[in-house]
Amino acid sequence: MAIEAAHEAETGSVTGARFVGQRVARVEDARFLTGHGRFVDDIAVPGVLHAAFARSDVARGTITSIDTTVAQAMPGVAAVFVANDLNDLGHDYLPDGEAAHGRHRPFRVLAGGDVRCVGEPIVMVVADSRYLAEDAIDTIEIGIESSPPLLKRERALDSDAPIVHTGAPSNLYGEIPAEENPDLEAVLALAPVVLTETFHQHRYATVPMETRGIVARWEPGPDELTVWISTQGPHGVRSLMARMLGLKDTQVRVIMPDVGGAFGLKMNPRQEELAVVFATRLLGRPVKWIQDRRENLLCDDHAREDQATVTMATDDQGVLLGAKVDFLEGAGAFPAAFSSATVFSSRLFPGPYRFSAFSASAQTVHTNTSGRGSYRGPWMFETVAREQMMDCLAAKLGIDPLELRRRNVLGEADMPYAMAGGFVYDQMTAAETLEQAAEMIGYDEFREQQRAWRAEGRLVGIGIGLLVEPTAMAHAFMATDGAVVRIGPNGQADVFTSVASHGQSLETTIAQVVADELGLDVAQVRVVQGDTAATPFGPGTGGSRSAVVPSSAARIAAQEVRSHMIAIVAHVLEASPDDLEIVDGRVQVIGTPTRGMTIAEVAAKAYTEPASLPEGVPLGLEAQSRFTPGSFCTWANACHICVVEVDPATGAVEILRYVVSEDCGVMINPNVVEGQIAGGVVQGIGGVLYEHLPYDDAGNPLATTFVDYLLPTAAEVPEIEYGHIETHAPTNPGGHKGLGEGGAIAAPPAVINAVADALAPLGAQVRSQPLGPADVVALIEAASARTS
């Protein structure tokens, strides 16, 4: 297909590389396919104890009694801990980069005195086996006098709302206050078209197939803590554990084994993991906790749960003149990370469109529900609300949604562009991806066909989601990544990276980058990650940074090793370094390949014949590098378009086609790029059509098994079609951009807009999610009630 050919040509011209740009099969697969992956639950530590937790089954209330006498006497039970045993042991609970937001929100490992959401851990049992620990949990009697909980974010700031955190003046967790913007007000007063709509997004969650888990071992004597944890970054865990326990970093070693997905959930350890660390410290024995699925759905970090009121103004041709947005975000009782709405969503809202008059306000509020956590594009509601609004505007103007976007979208010709949220885009191909996706799906032909289908009564619709993805954010503790590249005496390379791959395929893609620089085969490059005793400091995976930041660190270190090899061989052969090349593991004279040395020969010399090295070249073949991108964000962009059909009788939505046009810069491995897109898209589809974490009126979560919380399966997902546009990112030497989160950001609006388009002939208005069968039937019935 032409698009594929174009990208291959471009990849070749950009890198001239052997491995970068190729669909290299993954290094990781050999162990995962044969059952030899090593996940945290697979770590065997002699003498390990197992933890389990008794949790609140009340959303808000006062703890009146805790009876653990039976549990304490049970055989195999090593310890039973309550709040007073653990909560005061810690010194500092803030993860790297987190400021002391929400000072009224207490930090506590176990709930003491009161409970603030269902699932809050109250008692921890540590026993010889998981079976015995859970037996003991079953005997614990906890009395809780319940009081009415606050469950709805919309009610959180009412004067009579229950206060989630006792002693706080209100449930406000953070805000960007609405400010007077006279320029915008003037635009809104004079614009021929002004529309205001409110959009809602429900609560859903990351749900990695591997839940959280930890094994922690405190060794009295050396006074050292070793932690194996399912995490997105071992170095941040080490910093946090050390600060919390009042230890030096050097007393703490954190090892990230294989990790079975995270999607933001495993950015930071939560109460249970910290409780395990306290327990091993108190008991002097290793302790393990593997979260079960019920715990994961009941009370681990939840996500999304947003609303936004958007006002947009255009001229009578649909050219955007200004916009105003007000976000309200549900943060739950104990959010894992600070707010998205008040930090990022409000600034990103203008997205891929050209307009300057803009203001944003946002509030994030506590409720008696599970805390909000990061999920693949935590700020993504800006895209969902904006793209829904574009379709609402198109309907009001009587302009096709594709055409309305064409009139406002930014493209390469507009760069650089100071967008209304305060960022400067140095690169943007939103217009180009819009056109590519529209062509791939046959937009105009679809519209023609749609008229015929509508005449037959079929509800078929098309939806667009246009996305600007802020990737590789280089800020504070996420500013840099490091790498050490070492060719050993036998001529193979180790790359010690600060990043922490867990599905992102970095053991392969970083090896591709390094192999190209060193002239080695991918199979001769091994990527070592995930152990604070072996790898450079870094924030781990998160924020779609890995292709940009840690890969560049590895590339630059490899370039230095390469220059050392060239210098050594030039010295030995008495040749000019400029006349040498490295081809297939040999450093040789260009045009005279017989004159040269294998990399293994160069390496042996570098380590064992120090006197034979040229002056100024370091001994050995090793270099380290630390990299920061050229700007705060490396901007990627994509356009998703899908076609759906709605069954008017059942409300079921079927996705008939799904296309993505993506610009993630120079692709290292198209398989990995497409895999990242697909995973995100299906999470976005799941979020809109299937996944939902509802609560009943008493604050009980209603979806705590996979029978209630519906993940998409292979039977529901469409075949995703990909188009690639590759523009060389200016922020890093390889020209790469991130793309890990975009799929989950742009898929929801594409699906929502397609459903809305399908239902348009009925007069249904889609302003909220989820769009499960019952929800769609309700939309159809509401429309029918309005029109009759």
Partner: protein
């Protein structure tokens, strides 16, 4: 709590252990046999990560007790590769089609697909999707997995659903 003896053949090797009757087959395989390739994703029979072959049938080992497996022959992911150690056709297809990312659900998929293709050597696209619907993956969006099954079945390029809407 009483204990019972379990005698099984796992990946061709005889195993005998005295276990509590409540011990699941999954925990037996992971803890008694140290075969940790069988993963637990939900422990309530939905996600399929713990799928193993019991007398050739794909079974969720979190829903079966070890004592119920008495006398059976079990194959786990560690026993799926060819006898010479090379990847089986299904394993190789997953690798070639980028059918895995984090790798946690992968053992269950490989086992389920191995049983499915043995019983349905020429599957339609629809039957592939239905067969896979008993296993959950959160990373791949199933694209690479579906392609891997097509590849292993030799049906690549046939019966595809993209392009036209009917």
């Amino acid at each position: 709590m009483g204990e019972a003896v379990v005698r099984v053949i796992v990946n061709g090797e005889s195993r005998e252990a005295t276990v509590e009757p409540r011990l699941t087959l999954a925990d037996f395989l992971r803890e008694e046999c140290h075969l940790t390739g069988t993963h637990l994703g939900c422990e309530h029979g939905v996600c399929g990560a713990c799928t193993v072959l019991v007398n050739g049938a794909a079974v969720r080992s979190c829903l079966m007790l070890a004592v119920q497996a008495e006398g059976t022959e079990i194959t786990t992911i560690e026993g799926i590769a060819n006898s010479d150690g090379t990847l089986s056709a299904v394993q190789q297809a997953f690798r070639e089609a980028h059918g895995l990312q984090c790798g946690f659900c992968t053992p269950g998929f490989v086992i389920s697909v191995t049983a499915f293709l043995r019983d349905h050597p020429e599957p339609s696209d629809q039957s592939i999707r239905e067969a896979l619907s008993g296993n959950l993956c959160r990373c791949t969006g199933y694209q690479g997995i579906i392609n891997a099954v097509r590849l292993a079945a030799g049906t690549v390029g046939e019966d595809r659903t993209t392009g036209a809407i009917t």
